[in-house]
Symmetry: C2
């Protein structure tokens, strides 16, 4: 099988890479490279050379924050709707020609605040079952994304700050004080489910409902171990309720993309709402990069 | 006029005091004492002696976190509904008899998370126009309280984490990165009003709408100076929308209690909703302490 492409997922805190054949088959993979914030003296060229050392010299495409203002070369946002073909003209090559980066996508509608993604577009493209598939894609995380894809193009999306708000409340607010120091959310715990139910039904009352993490603890109805799970459920439930109000989830089941335990938790909460979501396979990022590279004429 | 009472507002970060006559007239006042977290070696007795030094030896009543687990003597929560008379049996004296502390109030309804206040009950009692007045009282702040008072008794209330969530997002989240380092919210700015309008209309979508603080900045539609004002408006608008769904605001105008500029901002947002709120006068805390002391037989 002819080797055709080096694909890189170069984000804020990590760098992973894949060696890909003409037909998209993954031939080799690497992980553990430095995220853009960890690149010494912002010498991205040296970090890149070290990471691909021993791999053949090939066209290279990278997605993620490497294409942001803080990265190697900035690739300005492409406007929605955006598919592989729309992104191809927005690819930016580094000055030394070592690699090209994928632009992020911006959603702008008059009268509303804009929204942005950078990196998630590539994961979504990789999760499409065909080049012109449609559907709803959910990427839970620090900044969760809910994206509507129509005929292979990202038509609209919204960001929810769920994961980051969990983290700052856990670490810096009064809600963290009644939590066990090293307790992580258990997404299978009854406390997670209880929190999710409140979040689902009271997303319009979040500033009040969050205080329950403290008061339930004060009255010994929520343990120091369970409190992070309850808080996580509350926020995820509120995200899902808000997102479902925006996105008509009809037709094909939504697709979850991301870490398996988190996707499984979203899948359970969605199931309780009567929505059957599937979880995307591994390797959506290299598959997305291969699709974009092919659309940009970088392969074959 | 016979001097009758020393009233203390002893909170987490501050200690203020008043010398009060039999009829409630304030004869002297002091501020600048140490909050309970700043009392050296938790020697509350010494801190108290220094603070009242030179004042006559009198019955002394304190409200605030001095009556919490972390304070001098714990005064367990009294259940709603709670008025002066309901609180009197819950007063707790320090072992040395130096002072008594006012208990907080807990609101507990089967099937819901409990809610608590400690210190705000005293401010509310002080803001009542008569001993058996009714009305809605709003205390904006780190943990905003909305309390329904019926015939002089706090019947129900809810806490909103508005101020604390502003602070942790400002200081610890990605939203703070596009803000000028020393920019404070300007509650009179157009950005505050714009944020408040979004918060009022989209309180069910807060996890998403918060991200606009970043994206409006990225697209240069919100300046580094205006961003804190927009975030503050967004959260306050969402609080007010959620609270108005809980509280029927009919009859007499609601009363705002707290720092004047913050109360004025709430007053403007409420006015835009067709609700005329009044702002309570100064000295609600000493007046509330005097009312409780009188009900407890500590005066005259």
């Amino acid at each position: 099988m002819a080797v055709a492409l080096i694909a890189l997922d170069w984000g804020t805190t990590s760098l992973r890479g894949w060696l890909i054949a003409v037909d998209g088959t993954i031939l080799d993979r690497r992980a553990g490279g430095p995220g853009i914030l960890a690149v010494r003296d912002t010498d991205f060229a040296a970090a890149h050379r070290r990471f691909v050392d021993g791999w053949p010299l090939l066209p290279t495409l990278a997605s993620g924050m490497i294409g942001s203002k803080q990265g190697w070369i900035e690739a300005p946002y492409v406007s929605c709707p955006g598919g592989f073909a729309d992104l191809a003209p927005g690819l930016r090559a580094t000055l030394d020609g070592a690699l090209r980066v994928v632009p992020g996508i911006a959603w702008q509608v008059p009268g509303l605040a804009p929204d942005v993604m950078r990196g998630e577009e590539t994961q979504i493209f990789g999760a499409l079952e065909s080049d012109d598939a449609s559907g709803l894609f959910i990427l839970p995380g620090t900044h969760s994304k809910w994206a509507r894809v129509t005929a292979g193009r990202i038509a609209a999306f919204a960001t929810f700050m769920t994961g980051e708000i969990f983290a700052v409340l856990r670490q810096h607010s009064i809600l963290g004080r009644l939590m066990a120091a090293d307790a992580m959310p258990d997404l299978n715990a009854a406390a997670f489910e209880a929190g999710a139910e409140v979040g689902l039904n009271h997303s319009d009352d979040l500033l009040h409902r969050l205080f329950a993490v403290r008061t339930l603890g004060l009255f010994e109805r929520l343990s120091a171990i369970d409190a992070p799970s309850y808080l996580s459920g509350l926020l995820i439930g509120a995200e899902i309720a808000a997102a479902l109000q925006r996105e008509a989830v009809g037709g094909s089941p939504p697709t979850l993309i991301g870490a398996r335990p988190l996707c499984a938790a979203y899948q359970r909460v969605l199931a309780a709402q009567g929505i059957a979501a599937r979880i995307a396979g591994e390797d959506v990022t290299p598959r997305g990069l291969w699709r974009i590279a092919r659309a940009a004429g970088m392969i074959g």
